[in-house]
Symmetry: C2
Subunit: 345 residues, 2 copies
C-alpha cells in the first residue's frame, strides 16, 4: 500500500508510492514523455473503451444504458494509478521520530465527455453536468469517516502534469489528513477575521470591484480576478460574490452561471496565450468541521470563502521558490487582466 | 522598481517585475527556450567576456589582475536580470487592504570558473573557493540593515530553471523580509525542541545513522541523506554532523570535506540518473537575530540545524501539489539511496 510520510520539520505529508514504484534507473534523464496518443493507442476515457478502466463508480446515463458500457454523458472511475486507496485502514503509526499513515483515501476521475474532447472543446452543458456529478461525489465521499478533505483539480497540458491522453477530466482526491495549503488559508483568513470581524475575501472583492484593474470578467454570481499577488502570469481566481465557505453547498442553480463565466474567461485567455498548460484547483473549507470546532475551525463559516484558482504554467519554479516559499512573476497581474479582458471571443 | 506583494490570505510574498515586464503575448505557448548557446553567442560568464556583465562586486584574482578584466578564479557580479535591487529604499506601504514593499535587496551571481564548465565539471578546488567567496559575500550583505535573509541556491538544467548558458554559478539573493519557507522550518524545529529539548535534526541524524538505509554517504563532518519524506525522487540532504544553526559560521577548514562529499554524491547520482536537472538550496538560520529574540527566534541556536538540499527535478508539480501543499514521490527514498550508494565512481 502506498504510504503517507510526514516531513518532521514542516509537517508536510508526502505520498510515497511504495506499491508500484519505478526503478531508480527509469528516472534517468532522457526518459521521453509521450506528447500525444501513439498511432493505434486507444484512449481509455472514450466511449466504447469502458473495459480499459476499472468498473465505474457512477455515471450519467440519461437513456438507462448498462454500467461499464457505452451510452453515458459523464463517467466516474477510480484512477488508473491511484495515489490513495479506498480499501484498508489508516494505521497511523510512528517509526522512531517519524510519522506515517497508509495511503487510505480516494482517487477518482470524472470523465467529462464520452467523446475525445479537450477541456476547451467541451460543450457548456457537459461542464454543468460535470460540476453536478462532482458535487454528488463529494457528498458520497463525506460519508467515509477516514476522509478528512476532498480536493478537486484539473491538470491540462504536459507542463502542468496533464499527460498525453488529452481527454477532458477532473480529478477528485479524498485525503486522510487535512491539507497543509488549506490549513494555511484557513489560518490566514481567521487572523484577518479576528482583527477586522469581516471576511478577507469579501473585503478583497469589494476593493477589487472599486479598483477595477484586476477584474477580468464577472457574471451575476461570480467574479474572475487577476490576483493581486499572482504567483504566475495570468493566474486567475473565480470567486463567488455571495459569502460562503463551502463550494459543496453552492446552489445548483448557480452552476450554469459559473460555467458561463469560466468558459468565457478560459476562451479569452486562450486568445492571448494560446493553448496554455494549466492547473485548476478548488479551494474550499474542509467538510468535517463539527467534530473539530477549535482553532481555525471555530469561525470558519464566517471567515473563509471558497474559490477556484486557474494557474497557467508558463514559467518555472526554481531554487528561489523552493528555498523561499516566495514566487517570481514576470507579468504584473494588471497587465495580464487588461489583455485578457480586452480579448474578443 | 520591481515590487514585492504580499498575498493577503497566506502571507506569501511575490516579486512582481514591474520594471522590465514581458508583454502578455510573449507568454503565448510555443515560446521556445534556447537549450544551448546559439552559434556565435558568447557566454557572459567566461573569462575575457567581462564587459558583458555589470562591474564585478568582488573577485578572486590571485595574480593581482585588474577588476573587470581577465585573470580571475571566481568572480561575483550583480545579476543580469536582478529580482531585487541594492538601490532605493524599502518603502513598506499599503494599497487598501494589500501590502507592498519595493524590491530592495541584493541579487548576485558567483561565477565559479573562468572557463566554460558545467557544475559537475568544476575542479574541487574551484568549489572550495566558491564556498569561501559565498561566505565572504554573506558577511558583507549582513551589513545592509534592509536585508533580512540571504538565500543561496543553484539552478541546473532547463527543467530546474537553469537557462541555456551552462556555466557553473551560484546565486545569492538578499531579501528585505524573512522567507515563508524559513519561518516554517524554524517554527517546526522550535516545536520539536520545546517538546523534546533536543534538536530535531540531531535526533534525525542519530536515527538515520542507526537505520542506515537512507544514508547515501558520509564524510568526516557531513552526512548525505535521502530524506524520509522526500518530495522528489533522489532528493538528498547534506547535513553537518555537529550541531549548528548557521552555515555562515562554519569553520572554513571543513569546506574541503564538504566539497569532497558533495562532489562524490553528485557524481554517484549522475551515474544513476544521468545529466539531471536540479535545484540546490541552502537552509540556514536568519542572521539578524539579536534584534528579534522572540517567538521562533528565541532558542534558534539550539533548535535549528543548517543543511543543504539537492532537489532533482525529474517529476512535475501539478494540481494536487498546488492544492494540497503535499507532494507525490513515485520512488521510495530507500530505493533511491541504495542505487546511489552502490553506484561506482
Amino acid at each position: 500500500m502506498p504510504e503517507l510520510r510526514r516531513d518532521p520539520v514542516v509537517g508536510r505529508w508526502v505520498i510515497i508510492s511504495t506499491e508500484r514504484p519505478r526503478r531508480p534507473d527509469q528516472f534517468a534523464s532522457g526518459g521521453v514523455e509521450a506528447e500525444e496518443l501513439a498511432p493505434g493507442e486507444k484512449c481509455p476515457f472514450c466511449e466504447s473503451n469502458e473495459r480499459m478502466t476499472a468498473p465505474e463508480i457512477s455515471a450519467v446515463r440519461p437513456h438507462g444504458s448498462h454500467p461499464n458500457g457505452p451510452g453515458w454523458d459523464i463517467r466516474v472511475i477510480p484512477s488508473i494509478s491511484p495515489l490513495l486507496r479506498i480499501e484498508g485502514n489508516l494505521d497511523r503509526h510512528g517509526h522512531g521520530m517519524y510519522d506515517l499513515i497508509n495511503a487510505r483515501g480516494a482517487h477518482e476521475i470524472v470523465i467529462e465527455s464520452p467523446h475525445h474532447l479537450r477541456e476547451h472543446e467541451l460543450p457548456k452543458e457537459q461542464v454543468v453536468k460535470s460540476f453536478n456529478v462532482i458535487l454528488d461525489r463529494v457528498q458520497d465521499l463525506e460519508r467515509d469517516p477516514d476522509i478528512k478533505y476532498v480536493l478537486i483539480f484539473k491538470n491540462y497540458g504536459k507542463a502542468a502534469g496533464g499527460g498525453h491522453l488529452h481527454h477532458a477530466r477532473t480529478q477528485i482526491i479524498g485525503t486522510p489528513v487535512n491539507l497543509k495549503r488549506v490549513k494555511e488559508e484557513l489560518a490566514g483568513a481567521k487572523a484577518y477575521y479576528d482583527y477586522k470581524e469581516r471576511c478577507l475575501f469579501c473585503d478583497m472583492l469589494k476593493q477589487e470591484m472599486l479598483y477595477g484593474k484586476r477584474i477580468v470578467a464577472e457574471s451575476r454570481h461570480f467574479v474572475a480576478l487577476a490576483a493581486f499577488a499572482s504567483r504566475f502570469p495570468f493566474e486567475t481566481w473565480i470567486v463567488p460574490k455571495e459569502h460562503s465557505c463551502d463550494f459543496y453547498k453552492v446552489e445548483r442553480g448557480k452552476i450554469p452561471d459559473l460555467t458561463e463565466l469560466m468558459t468565457t474567461v478560459s476562451a479569452k485567455m486562450r486568445k492571448v496565450i494560446g493553448d496554455f498548460p494549466f492547473n485548476f484547483v478548488l479551494h474550499t473549507a474542509p467538510f468535517r468541521r463539527d467534530a473539530a470546532k477549535r482553532g481555525y475551525w471555530e469561525t470558519i463559516e464566517w471567515d473563509y470563502h471558497w474559490h477556484f484558482e486557474i494557474l497557467p504554467i508558463l514559467t518555472r519554479v526554481a531554487g528561489f521558490e523552493w528555498g523561499s516559499g516566495f514566487y517570481i512573476n514576470p507579468l504584473p497581474p494588471e497587465d495580464a487582466c487588461k489583455s485578457v479582458k480586452e480579448a474578443k471571443v
